[in-house]
Amino acid sequence: MTAAGGGSTSPIAPYAVVGEVLDKNRTATRRRRSLGTIIWWIVFLIGVAYFLVPLWSTLSWSLQAQPFGAAYTNTLDDPQFAATLLYSFTIGIITVIVSIGIIVPTAFWVRLRVPQLRRLVEFITLLPFVIPPIILVFGLIRSYSHGFLPLTNTDIGSDALLVAAYTVLSFPYMYRAVDTGLRSIDVQSLTEASQSLGAGWLRILWEVILPNLRVSLLAGAFLTLAIVVGEYTIATFLARPAFGPYLALIGGNKAYEPAAVSLISFALTWAAMGVIQYIGRGTRITVAGAR
């Protein structure tokens, strides 16, 4: 903007002067912004360091075992590793099925038939945040070690109790995911259309609603899996041969293997989250697990 120079009589001069002042302002702002950017880079790099150093330490520790990679081969060769991981996966998949079986009809009904129950259902699905796993398992053990349903007396009963506890833990994520999914499709019209074609309720749920909820359900399912596989508190107190208690056991007995299993477990979490990210592009779900 050179036109502003020397008090020219050009009619555009005043505008040009204004332009120059604005320009100066803008440069100042830009300079401030670029200084800001440097500060934000520093903040970011500190965060990255905090996140990555523990992973790096664990990796380098796991690689100290002799011969090279022994921490990993020993871990993978341990039959307990595969057995507990398989057990936790099985429990996780059963949990997902039970949870979907309960939450989908509920969310569907609440949206379509009994909207007056919405608040109550939302409240109950939030309760697992209020009642942490340690208290949930405390209550479950006291309620089901005797009395009308003595579940903890048998292995299969304890397994069932574990699935029940995990299903409860999955309610907040599953309900949110399904409810968000239902909001994005026109449940009312889909249902009426199916009804006018002569479909019954089960058929509507199974063939119309479920396929439309695929993305939400998969996201909820993988989040549940990520929480269940590796869960420690509930599995330990129910004395289940699960992956979480196995990890803790390894930690007490071995030198390098704990580092290897920590990283494997991190990779598993990463895989579950990667799947969610991939299938759910754009959809958002709250994340918070059993710690």
Binding site: S57, T58, P133, I135, V168, L247, A259, V287, R291
Partner: protein
């Protein structure tokens, strides 16, 4: 009500029966059992002695430890999580870093419990990488100076590993909600950056910020696995105290165990209730 409409009413409820039945059996009933138990003595007679015991110096210290750890990690996680999220969203960093941080946060906020405890033992434990580095290269022996990963501060450093990313995830939508136009409008009217922050951005962000702090507090308060795996049950916090009562260890007192659990439920309930309230307020700006 005719037979048809009452059948319809029955049918309306049928779809939600499994949910309520399941929730009653495996969530409400167990909690109720603890409530009843907390008002009974060893012989099953009604008493409030358990709650009187709850106010004893030992249990009060336990709760204060839990509250301190949760508050410190909530505030620390909130502040740094916010800065981190702001850096990748509005700080002028490449957009790819935002995606990377969000994905990583999704993973890290779920990476907790036993493996997390191990990872930090290898980092800042007695022979951890960072501990050794500080000692051998910088000549700083943190363990000789009184630091321990098995202490409160150690646990706080570990908890931040899931608190920080959780904050990044929940505050990101609020930061996204800060419209560029608001900043430009403020600047055009001659506002300085500090005025913009004090009078525009912070008031808008405050409900989300407080809500997140409370959620992080509850998140740390209910954590058991990480603390147990890290300290083997030696640290004196509420979740560990309940574990000890459940295992029937020292000073076993079943009623006190129930009362301890109730104390936790009350604190968690207040936190989550406040969170839900603030959540509703902050949604106003996120439309």
């Amino acid at each position: 009500m005719g037979p048809l409409s009452s059948r319809r009413a029955f049918f309306n409820w049928l779809g939600v029966v499994p949910f309520f039945l399941f929730s009653f059996l495996f969530l409400i009933l167990p909690t109720f059992y603890l409530v009843i138990g907390s008002f009974q003595d060893k012989n099953g007679a009604a008493t409030i002695q358990n709650y009187a015991d709850l106010l004893g110096p030992q249990t009060v210290r336990t709760y204060l430890n839990s509250i301190e750890i949760s508050a410190v990690t909530a505030i620390g996680g909130c502040i740094f999580g916010f800065l981190l999220a702001y850096a990748v969203i509005l700080g002028g960093l490449p957009r790819r870093l935002r995606t990377a941080l969000m994905t990583f946060s999704g993973v890290a906020s779920n990476f907790a419990g036993v493996p997390l405890a191990f990872a930090f033992v290898f980092t800042i434990g007695r022979v951890g990488l960072v501990t050794v580095f500080l000692k051998d290269v910088l000549g700083v022996n943190v363990y000789a100076a009184g630091f321990s990963i098995y202490s409160k501060i150690g646990l706080e450093i570990v908890y931040l590993y899931f608190q920080l990313p959780l904050m990044v995830l929940i505050i990101a939508p609020a930061i996204d909600g800060l419209r560029r136009e608001w900043r430009e409008a403020a600047e055009n009217m001659g506002a300085t950056p500090s005025q913009y922050w004090r009078l525009v951005a912070l008031p808008i962000l405050m409900p989300s910020f407080l809500g997140s702090a409370i959620l992080l507090f509850a998140n740390a308060f209910g954590a058991q696995a990480t603390a147990y795996a890290l300290t083997g049950g030696s640290i004196d916090i509420a979740t560990i105290a309940i574990s000890r009562q459940m295992r029937g260890d020292v000073l076993f007192n079943e009623g006190l165990g129930y009362a301890l659990a109730m104390g936790m439920v009350v604190i968690m309930g207040i936190s989550i209730g406040l969170y839900a309230l603030l959540q509703r307020r902050s949604e106003r700006w996120l439309r």
